[in-house]
């Protein structure tokens, strides 16, 4: 099989030499930054083609509904098979044990969804439900209770509210969300409103969960590109951290080192992670794609793996504990490996409209307002034994993979792993402009409260307050340009 996208990127690289003379010194390119290429003949700034290839060789050009579901170019025969098999176990529903399809049973006993894809629809982003009966999946609630200075899993419900269960096992409860509109104003007087969510959690009998419960709503993030982010050397990420804001720019950023996790938390109990860097999940709890996959299998679908062998039941849930299982573990090593391979080899969609005036103006403003201090433009991956297209790539994920205090507006007040109740890991922005095409919505941030990219920017506080204020101070045209840039990602 040919690898057409690689071929095209080869052409693109050749074209770089022709284009750089014009683009040098312009836009976001000028300053030397960590991660910049150090070729002797290196151009001053990246070319349009390089800026468009967000995932380096692991970039694909697809602008349709399957834009997030493409394999990285150049997989060999085995790789194509692993991808196909992983895709299948990502998409298909798990069934109740015992079943004839004994490789696919063991759903629950408690769960939020029957398949990965029901939340990560088309490998994309989930959204909050419209109401309590909305069958849309894509938002879940993490739980804990205050325990002195620290936190502990909820004694009955554990670390996640599972709102579904197999027959004969009671569900844990449900969530409903109401929004109130909060008004704000741009510096030029243009008004806007943000939707402030209020969550009501009730148990299976409809009783409110206690006031001591700390909870954190999360929408499913897009899947693609995680194989690249996993390969960015930890020292490169840590090098970008500035925990005490030594440079005084108002932006700090902490690496989610697992040494920092709370004693007794799920992250700590999982063990075998000393010194590793958490980089996946809204709080950077999981260090690898495999860990993230195993954690989601267990908590979200209720299927166990060797990495997470315990059913999602607490000691206070006898029916859950007594339910039949689909084997130990329910997802064997090979299948976990295939789903992990699939996740790692989902390609990043290429940017659109690079080099057009409005987009480029927006890109300049993205840097000038300070967005790019956390949403880092460029990283490099290390070597990969998974796929050549992932190996030694210059990528443009628009994240630093660090924890940042995002202010009280976005705080969930629930510490998790290395993150405190106000901190979130910078989410990557690559592909974000295709969310509506793929997922049919434009809901952003950890709980999907932002109804547009504009609202997502306006929600930024804490360390991002300066950038948010600079955005609010822009002219309407410049604000539009910045959003046009985001839509091009």
């Amino acid at each position: 099989m040919t690898t057409p996208a690689r071929r095209r990127l080869g052409l693109a690289l050749a074209a770089v030499l022709l284009v750089v003379a014009c683009s040098g010194g312009d836009g976001e390119g000028g300053d030397a930054r960590p991660g910049d290429r150090d070729r002797p003949d290196a151009p001053v700034g990246p070319s349009d083609e390089e800026r468009a290839a967000s995932g380096g060789d692991a970039t694909v050009e697809n602008t349709g509904a399957q834009a997030f579901a493409q394999a990285v170019p150049g997989l060999d025969t085995d790789g194509r098979r692993f991808f196909a098999v992983g895709n299948n176990f990502f998409n298909d529903n798990w069934v109740i044990a015992p079943a004839s399809t004994d490789g696919r049973d063991g759903l629950g006993p408690l769960f939020n969804a029957q398949s990965c894809s029901s939340c990560h629809f088309r490998d994309g982003r989930g959204q909050p439900p419209a109401d309590a009966d909305d069958p849309e999946r894509g938002l879940l609630i993490r739980l804990s209770v205050a325990d002195g200075e620290s936190t502990a899993p909820h004694p009955v419900l554990g670390e996640q509210l599972q709102d579904r269960a197999i027959p004969d096992v009671p569900v844990e409860g449900s969530v409903s969300i109401t929004y109130t509109e909060e008004e704000g104003t741009y510096d030029d007087g243009t008004p806007y409103t943000l939707a402030v969510p209020t969550y009501t959690l009730v148990d299976a009998e409809g009783r409110p969960l206690g006031d001591d419960v700390l909870f954190s709503p999360r929408v499913a993030p897009p899947m693609f590109g995680v194989g690249l982010l996993e390969l960015v050397p930890a020292e490169d990420i840590i090098a970008e951290a500035d925990p005490d804001d030594a440079d005084g720019d108002g932006v700090s950023g902490r690496p989610a080192l697992v040494d920092d996790v709370d004693p007794g938390s799920e992250a700590e109990r999982a063990g075998e992670r000393d010194g590793r860097l958490g980089r996946f999940g809204w709080k950077a709890l999981e260090p690898t794609v495999e860990d993230q996959t195993a954690a989601a299998f267990r908590a979200d679908i209720g299927v166990t793996t060797d990495l997470r062998p315990e059913q999602p039941c607490t000691a206070a849930q006898p029916a859950c504990l007594a339910a039949p299982t689909g084997g130990e573990p329910e997802v064997d090593e090979q299948k976990l490996g295939r789903v992990t391979f699939y996740s790692r080899t989902l390609a990043v969609p290429a940017r659109r409209h690079v080099g057009e005036p409005a987009t480029d103006r927006g890109e300049e403003l993205f840097a000038a307002t300070g967005c790019a201090s956390c949403h880092l433009t460029e990283m490099r991956t290390g070597s990969s034994d998974v796929a050549e297209a992932l190996s030694e790539q210059v990528i443009r994920p628009y994240t630093d993979l660090l924890l940042h205090d995002m202010g009280p507006g976005l705080a969930d007040g629930r510490p998790e792993g290395a993150a405190d109740g106000s901190e979130w890991r910078t989410p990557p922005l690559w592909g974000i402009g295709l969310t509506e095409t793929v997922n049919g919505h434009t809901r952003f941030l950890h709980d999907g409260r932002a109804r547009s990219l504009e609202e997502a920017v306006l929600w930024h506080g804490g360390e991002a307050a300066g950038a948010q204020e600079r955005f609010r101070a822009l002219s309407a045209d410049d604000r539009r340009a910045l959003l046009t840039f985001l839509e091009s990602l």
């Binding site: 529903n93 069934v95 079943a99 004994d102 999946r137």
Partner: protein, 411 residues
């Protein structure tokens, strides 16, 4: 096989293909607007464009395809209705003979359903995300314990659960299944299959549900009602899809033909996604990879090879337009006019892969072929077919790219 008179002759090469493309855009029957509606960057093919289909050619190919889709679903409605009659007869007078007749009717319907699966993957009437009944018609794997008893769980399932499901009709089954929100997992072809054959607990044969499940078993009456209701529901669902494609006012057909280039994109998307994604990937390579005997599409009846052949034929039918009772200019015909080489390569692959799928039958049942070591004849043949179907998907994507359409093979 009277179509494509040119493609064997024009096997000359790029120069001729380019001439063909250039000529085509000049004499495409009075409509000079040859531009495709979609950007030509799909599939990543490196700019080797063939030329675009004229609006007239795209419309002709799309119309023939729409006729094929309608004919295929109409045949399915007939077969499913006949199956429903056989099931009613079985439920009214359960015996080995009436059970066998019902099973035969299921197999006959299933053979016709396989080819229709190429009409998926572009959010048409069958699998439109909000309302498409594909999940209700063909969901797999099946949550069998949600439907009826299974080994180790004799009380399981809606069949025995008169509290959850006091009245058994197609409507109540669909309503219960939709509870929880997912496209449901206990209706359609495979639920009927499960209620006819039972779990496949044998290594070398299909399931062996005893007739007593429908005579002396405590849940016999409810099981019969459930089975009959499933058949009715399937007929209703297939009918609703068929009607969307009705040449006499089918709403989706009208929409489909209103944008012929998008229609051709959808045709190619369905072909490519079924070939490389669903059939090669989901249905063959997954079972090959896991070697789970029951990780096969028709696991209760061991009918999986029929499903595979049907799917492969469907891809061929979508391209050639060859379906009983349908006449017209196919997509193959119009592609052959502007790029005979690509057309020849694809039709050759389609023929070869249908033949290879049919030939598997001589080696054993699917669940026997997938086990063993990689060099075993059956296992090697299964793998080769899957890889060739992936290659066929690549050809389809490359054809789409050359015609200026963007398609994805992923599902």
């Amino acid at each position: 096989m009277t179509r494509r008179p040119l493609h064997r002759i024009l096997a000359a090469g790029l120069a001729l293909a380019l001439l063909g493309a250039a000529a085509c855009s000049d004499d495409d029957g009075g409509d000079d607007d040859t531009s495709a509606t979609t950007a030509a960057d799909g599939g990543g093919e490196a700019g080797e464009t063939t030329g675009t289909l004229s609006d007239d050619d795209a419309l002709a190919a799309a119309t023939t395809y729409a006729d094929v889709v309608f004919a295929a679903y109409a045949a399915n409605v007939t077969a499913a209705t006949e199956m429903g009659d056989a099931i009613d007869a079985f439920v009214a007078a359960p015996s080995d003979a009436t059970l066998q007749a019902a099973k035969d009717a299921w197999r006959a319907g299933r053979e016709l359903y396989g080819p229709t699966e190429v009409f998926r993957f572009y959010d048409g009437p069958i699998d439109e995300p909000e309302a498409g009944p594909e999940g209700q018609i063909n969901a797999w794997p099946l949550d069998e314990a949600y439907v009826d008893y299974v080994e180790d769980d004799p009380g399981a399932g809606l069949v025995a659960d008169a509290e959850t499901l006091p009245e058994i009709t197609g409507e109540t089954i669909a309503a219960v299944n939709e509870e929880g929100g997912e496209t449901n997992v206990s209706t359609g072809w495979h639920a009927i299959e499960f209620l006819l054959w039972g779990q496949d607990l044998s290594e070398d044969g299909p399931g062996a549900r005893p007739v007593t499940d429908y005579t002396t078993d405590p849940s016999a009456a409810r099981r019969g009602q459930y089975l009959a209701a499933l058949a009715d529901l399937l007929v209703d669902d297939l009918t609703s899809v068929r009607d969307q494609w009705d040449p006499e006012g089918g709403a989706y057909r009208e929409e489909f033909l209103s944008d012929p280039h998008q229609a051709v994109t959808n045709i190619l998307r369905g072909m490519g996604a079924l070939s490389a994604g669903e059939l090669a990937g989901e249905r063959i390579l997954v079972a090959y990879d896991t070697q789970d005997q029951e990780d096969e599409h028709s696991c209760f009846s061991d009918n999986t090879l029929v499903d595979i052949v049907g799917n492969a034929r469907g891809i061929q039918i979508a391209y050639t337009g060859e379906y009983e009772g349908v006449e017209g200019t196919s997509l193959s015909d119009v592609v052959a006019e502007i790029d005979p080489e690509r057309d020849a390569a694809l039709t050759e692959a389609l023929d070869a892969n249908v033949a290879a799928a049919e030939a598997l039958d001589e080696l054993g049942t699917f669940d026997q072929l997938i086990v063993g070591d990689d060099e075993a004849e059956g296992r090697a043949a299964v793998r080769t077919l899957a890889e060739d179907l992936q290659g066929q998907g690549d050809l389809i994507a490359e054809l789409a790219g050359a015609l200026g359409y963007e398609i994805s093979l992923e599902i």
